[in-house]
Amino acid sequence: MRTICFYFQVHQPFRLKPYRFFDIGEDHHYWDDFLNRNVIRKVAQKCYLPMNALLLDLIHQYNGKFKVAFSLSGTFLDQMEAYAPDVLESFQKLVATGQVELLNETYTHSLAALKSKEEFHALVKKHQDRIKELFNGYTPKVFRNTELIYSDQIGAMVAELGYEAVLTEGAKHVLGWKSPNYVYSNAIEPKLKVLLKNFLLSDDIAFRFSNKTWADYPLTTEKFVKWINAIPKEEQVLNLFMDYETFGEHQWAETGIFEFMRHLPDAVLNHSNFGFSTPSEVAANAAAVSKIHVPVPISWADEERDLTAWLGNDMQDEAFDRLYELEKLVKDLDDPEIKRDWGYLQTSDHFYYMCTKFFSDGSVHEYFSPYDTPYDAFINFMNVLSDFMLRVKQKKSELQS
């Protein structure tokens, strides 16, 4: 059967508070608790709670025919526990239906896969344990790296950890003439299946849905089903991957996004030969058509679908390198607070805020950033990191004496 695979990324970073030079050496609490709580509460009201309720309805209504997958980052889980236990409960209810799959990722939504295999493994393990703990022993079988960042090497690391499949972007420069609507396999470890995002149809929902200058505005379920029916018959899988905040936050309720989702399953199930599957079902049911070669890392960010949203300018590279230089020191210390802060500082968002690609995707970056400029983001992060380094050094000398 041909199938649609919905996957939603749910992530919130621990944003840093304005941390001044004068705070270095004195203030060791880095997080903007007030802002972080406000964001979680706001998005909970606009998106998480209403959309979870809607998905629960749909799952009950279609009785096993409608299903979705989530990747809930560890920083999101922690903040949900602290600020929104009601949201956590609604996710637990969804998972308990058996129609919702949870994916694994690095605990702090970090870029560790690009730098340290050891830290990557540690963060994945931590995420796995936490999911188990919060979702009644649930063990994810499919992996989704931070922001769909993927390369042959990253895939090999994922395969080594025993996952069946990995999700990534159907980047044009990787696919060439090939279609994202097939299951592929990792170039190094062929047993790992690779699911590619169909970015055209995903972005029709995630980005263009409320764009009145778009030729196909407004998007209706009829229109969408017409498009999926136009996909060549032999193409089996349609991967619709997006931020969960698409529903109610990026696209406000007034745009009709909830109505669209409420009626989409009916339209798909009755007017096309597509069904719905989770990533692990897709991986189990379809054979890989070929290997996909991704020698250089790709992601789902920006027009370039590469790493330049997080790394590449001097500020980002400096912050990134200085942070990971501490790896051995942090691990030797084995101090829970130091370890936690080091993990939270790895969250990719901090590097995203330092991006200076103003012209094409700058406005998207700006939308997501709590800072006025990438320079402010860099200064703030480095002040925090400088304090963190002092703490690490101090702890180390305490241990030695």
């Binding site: 030079f21 004068f22 050496g25 500020m315 320079y375 200064i379 480095m382 002040n383």
Partner: protein, 429 residues
């Protein structure tokens, strides 16, 4: 002696060093029982009563006076829609342009209205205010006949000084605190340069705040050396400041504090920092301030991979400035061109050894400081390293620096100024 003095700002309402210098000078004149009529475009009412203040905004102009029309005609060429804002950082700039937009709407635009409400700031209508200020100066010079000499501070007040001289026939001394070359490098704003030059040529004598400034006056404005006297600035309070604020990091701190603009040479500080950090990673560098080169400096620091050792604080206000001085182990002022530069003296008051560029006027009065060429980043790095590591030299600079500071008194400057007046008057008669 009675002096008719034209300034642009006076404490507590100041945005730059000019107001502070005028305050010190007037205070010094008071000490010697000299009478000063001090004119500013706008008085706020809370100025210390050190002089006979005249608020230019209150002066009624008698437009029947034919000579005034002549001035106006000569001055209207200044009314270019100029955006020039000397000595202002971006924060202040925004504040003042906002001020100009919101608070100036009630102004009667008629040239010969009786009164003109000055903003006394450096906003958008600066050129217009400068020329109207001259008109007011002419009126004042006619009304107050009892003064002996005219003294005008910086180009903003030069047209006023010229006008007062023409009306009264009394000699004019112009005081140069900064030139357009210090503010803008080689890309000078021509109208400003023209006013500066006109003021210097119309003056009977010129006072420069440093030998460095005197040299610029001679070389760039075509003034004979004999017509220029150097009177260095002084400090109002030379006492040592003991701050209770404590440093929270174990490393030593090297500080740059000022506007992050071309004139202040921030890039040389960054390059020197790199050289020091390469040799001794246990140092933190701090660049405090804001300005149009800030983002470029941040980029460069990131590029040099030293951002965990080099920090930016942004614009510092109030107590934070004192705290910054208090926790600094070395203060560096690498100015490319600094007519005087009062900040290193503040550092000395906090017992912080200083490194200053040879291209600053303050280098002429502060003997116990390390002086380097602003471009010589190797020497700068050497000096920073030495002050951080060799206690002997930094202790010596601390002690001698504060001794030296005590000699920099405004009453000494005022006494010298009186002899300049006397000489000028003598040459006249």
């Amino acid at each position: 002696m009675k002096v008719l003095m034209f300034g642009w700002e006076f404490p507590p309402h100041i945005s730059g060093g000019l107001g502070t210098a005028c305050y010190g000078l007037v205070k010094g004149m008071n000490h010697h029982n000299q009478e000063v009529i001090f004119v500013v475009p706008k008085l706020w009412g809370d100025e210390e009563p050190l002089a006979d203040f005249v608020n230019a905004s209150d002066v009624r102009i008698d437009y029947r006076e034919k000579r005034f029309k002549k001035f106006w005609k000569n001055l209207t060429y200044l009314e270019v829609s100029s955006f020039l804002v000397p000595y202002l950082g971006p924060e202040e700039f925004k504040k003042f342009t906002d001020y100009a937009i919101h608070d100036r709407t009630d102004v009667d635009e008629s040239i010969f209205s009786n009164k003109f409400e000055f903003s006394g700031k450096y906003g958008k209508n600066l050129m217009e205010e400068v020329s109207r200020y001259a008109l007011v100066a002419a009126q004042i010079a006619r009304d107050k006949n009892s003064f002996d000499i005219i003294h005008a501070h910086d180009w903003l007040a030069f047209p006023a000084g010229i006008a007062a001289k023409e009306i009264s026939g009394k000699p004019l001394v112009v005081h140069v605190h900064a030139t357009e070359f210090d503010r803008s490098g080689e890309t000078v704003n021509q109208p400003v340069y023209d006013i500066e030059r006109a003021g210097m040529h119309a003056a009977d004598h010129i006072v420069a705040v440093s030998q460095l400034t005197k040299n610029i006056i001679i070389r760039k404005y075509g003034i004979p050396a004999s017509k220029v006297t150097v009177l260095h600035n002084a400090v109002l309070d030379a006492s040592i400041i003991k701050s209770a604020y404590e440093k929270k990091v174990p490393e030593k701190i090297v500080t740059f504090l000022g506007r992050i603009t071309f004139q202040k040479g921030p890039e040389y500080f960054v390059e020197a920092a790199k050289k020091v950090i390469d040799r001794d990673p246990n140092v933190r560098f701090v660049m405090a301030g804001s300005g149009d080169l800030l983002n470029r400096m941040i980029d460069r620091v990131a590029e040099l991979r030293m951002a965990t050792r080099f920090h930016f604080t942004g614009f510092l206000k109030g107590d934070d400035v004192d705290h910054m001085y208090a926790i600094s182990d070395v203060y560096v002022m690498p100015s490319v061109s600094e007519p005087f530069g009062i900040a290193p003296l503040e550092a000395v008051r906090h017992n912080t050894p200083v490194i200053i560029s040879k291209q600053s006027g303050v280098a002429e009065v502060l003997r116990n400081a390390i002086k380097v060429d602003f471009w010589d980043v190797d020497s700068m790095a050497d000096a920073i390293f030495a002050l951080l590591h060799y206690d002997g030299i930094s202790r010596m600079f601390k002690e001698l620096g504060s001794e030296e500071l005590k000699k920099l008194k405004w009453e000494h400057v005022a006494a010298k100024l009186v002899t300049v007046y006397e000489k000028t008057l003598a040459e006249r008669s």
